[in-house]
């Protein structure tokens, strides 16, 4: 009898003798158990068949293909992940103060949140900006705001992540111009621009232009940066917002990788060599509460991306195969009720990200279901990462959950279901088509709807929301953004427009327009010339809107 047969026999005996006896006396709480994303969960998992052969093929060693166990051989034994708190609000001056505070508290990288007008290409004095200036991030209208934002922060010493998509080229240009003024060479600049437009159409909503010119801007950036800003991550392909919109863990990975495939295809189509840009692609995922499902998700994502890059795109350079990712804990898991409970949720999610092998992490603050986080809440969130890093011990061995029967089963199952989605999207004609047809949006919305229904009828328990509730006093000390902020920004814009060389601005914008009209031109140099003479973000986007048109949302309900 083979070892595998012995195992099966032993399992049957266990079921008949030990288990059934227990079940007859103590039935289980539910007939079916599932993960947070509704994958079925068995009572117990046992070693799979051909356990060792499977190890060599599917897991291998960290730092080796298919990177299931991590992208580096030593992981956190070498260097900890980057602790990077997403922050920004109000004016550039206020945000600059918050960044300096976070750096003093031991944060190791910056992450800039921009307000919605900046993200959608409107100046603060635009009618569309009413009520939104400085609210969810910092307001940037011209290079002057960027100069203030990084005042006293030497750009060669920090890495800066910027959550900016449709106008990513403009903010990157401003960052480069700030570097120039600080005397920092562009080749020394380190950081990431999100620059992931496809998920904006699906889940996040800060699109400006239609897919085709948007994809052009993205590949322009890939090309430009590989030569001039080689240490910058040119994109952060994001599942985070897909998950926040209500997707399952499987959908988060599937749609993110499908977006990644679309960007790679598009860059190759314009003539770029895959290995010239693939090493600068980075990813961004969510960490939710189902700890083990999330760990399996990260491991599956790494394995799938390595296979995609090797087998589909024939990348040769090892760096092109690595799925390097940032993680943020799940905003939608935070509750407005009993907000201190969120600290515990964030701790579980931090563990998920770290046990899943993240390269950087943002931990949410307990009060974010209520308002922008206060300074005290941000500190607790950062301390959560520091406690996991320095006290929990989970960092001492690489991929410490690897080999858990359950984790390996979930990793395989998530991978299997992701491939099914990828095949289906390929059949539809790629991600742009799948978005245009509303397929992706519908899949996410159905998942979100069922999730919420489960909470409504208490099949899913959210502590403090549909169980264990208490009467509580309204929370105090929430951060408030000054409603007068728009006036301050408008005054700044007026002053700049009086003092800059307006003829030069006009000329440079004209050059930009004519370049935009020629599909073969790379727009980055023209955008740089425009920001350097203090053309506003809105002025630059207006030129591009004129030439490219605007995206119209396809509403799927």
């Amino acid at each position: 009898m083979s070892t595998q047969d012995k195992l099966e026999q032993k399992k049957k005996q266990w079921e008949q003798n030990t288990l059934n006896k227990a079940l007859s006396k103590f039935p289980e709480r539910k007939t079916e158990f599932t993960t947070g994303s509704s994958l079925p969960v068995d009572r117990i998992y046992t070693p799979p068949q051909d356990c060792q052969e499977k190890y060599v093929e599917d897991l291998s060693f960290p730092g080796e293909y298919p990177y299931t166990r991590g992208i580096q051989p030593t992981m956190y034994r070498g260097r900890l992940w980057t602790m990077r708190q997403y922050a920004g609000f109000g004016t550039a001056e206020e945000s600059n103060q918050r960044y300096k505070y976070l750096l003093e508290q031991g944060q190791t990288g910056l992450s800039v949140a921009f307000d919605l007008p900046t993200q959608i290409g409107y100046d603060s004095d635009d009618d569309h900006s009413l009520g939104e200036v400085g609210k969810v991030g910092v307001a940037i209208d011209t290079l002057e705001d960027m100069e203030i934002l990084f005042e006293g922060i030497p750009l060669q010493k920090v890495s800066t992540s910027m959550t900016i998509n449709a106008p990513a080229s403009i903010l990157l240009a401003m960052y480069m111009a700030v570097g120039d003024k600080q005397g920092v060479n562009n080749t020394q600049l380190k950081g990431t621009i999100q620059n992931d437009i496809l998920k904006e159409y699906i889940a996040r909503g800060t699109y400006i232009f239609p897919p085709e010119p948007s994809m052009r801007l993205i590949t322009n950036i890939f090309e430009f940066c590989s030569e001039h800003v080689p240490k910058f991550n040119t994109i952060s392909i994001s599942g985070y917002h897909i998950r926040e919109a209500g997707s399952t863990a499987v959908q988060e990975v599937a749609f993110t990788i499908a977006d990644g495939i679309e960007y790679v295809k598009s860059a190759i189509k314009t003539g770029l060599d895959v290995d010239s840009f693939a090493g600068r692609l980075s990813f961004f995922f969510n960490a939710h509460n189902d700890l083990l499902e999330e760990v399996a998700k990260f491991r599956a994502a790494r394995r799938i991306w390595a296979k995609v890059m090797k087998e589909k795109f024939h990348a040769q350079n090892q760096k092109s195969l690595l799925l390097r990712f940032h993680t943020q804990t799940g905003g939608s898991t935070l509750t407005a009720q009993q907000p201190d409970n969120n600290i515990v949720r964030v701790t579980i999610q931090t563990l998920a990200a770290v046990l899943g092998g993240t390269q950087s992490l943002h931990t949410n603050s307990r009060d974010e279901a209520l308002a922008l986080p206060s300074e005290q809440s941000v500190r607790i969130a950062l301390r959560t990462q520091q406690i996991v890093a320095h006290e929990s011990g989970v960092i001492n061995s690489v991929d410490p959950l690897g080999g858990s029967y359950y984790i390996e089963h979930l990793t395989d199952e998530i991978e299997r279901q992701v491939w099914e989605y990828l095949d289906h999207i390929e059949k539809i004609g790629g991600m742009v088509e799948a978005i245009n047809k509303g397929f992706i949006q519908k899949e996410i919305q159905d998942a979100a709807y069922h999730y919420q229904q489960d909470i409504e009828n208490s099949e899913r328990i959210v502590v403090g929301v549909n169980k264990f509730t208490v009467e509580e006093a309204p929370p105090k000390d929430l951060l408030k953004v000054d409603p007068q902020l728009r006036k301050i920004q408008v005054t700044k814009i007026d002053k700049i427009k009086q003092n800059r060389d307006n003829l030069q601005v006009k000329n440079n914008l004209k050059e930009l327009r004519s370049a935009a009209e020629h599909k073969s031109k790379n727009l980055m140099p023209y955008i740089l010339d425009s920001v350097r003479v203090y053309a506003t973000l809105g002025e630059i986007c207006t030129v591009l809107r004129d030439v490219f048109g605007e995206y119209q949302e396809s509403i799927v309900l």
């Binding site: 009413l130 279901a369 409504e456 309900l557």
Partner: protein
Amino acid sequence: MSSKNVRILIAKPGLDGHDRGAKYIARALKDNGYEVIYTGLRQTPESIVQTAIQEDVDFVGLSLLSGAHNELFPKVVELLKQNQAEDIIVFGGGVIPEEDIPALNQQGIKAIFTPGTPIKDVVSFIEKNRKT
């Protein structure tokens, strides 16, 4: 009590892209038998009021998570008044700090539903305030 013929517009004012809640409410209200119209993202108060009047709705539900509610919610009420449509009842939801709610109520936003509100609370609000 029949929910027939009650028409509800669910709208996203401002530039905020968080539409999970708005879409959930729209679909759940539809499942409760109401006629529901959803505007999509990036609506100005003007365009919301125009749609509300054109579609002859009884309720407008505004969803906002970006913090611009103090500016944009009252603007919708004000424009409804200016267009002699003050009989349309306005309610809202999203990330709205507790301390902002009294002022919003005073300015004519009839109810604010914060995260975690069960759909039955929204339904009972509509049933209580609908024209019979």
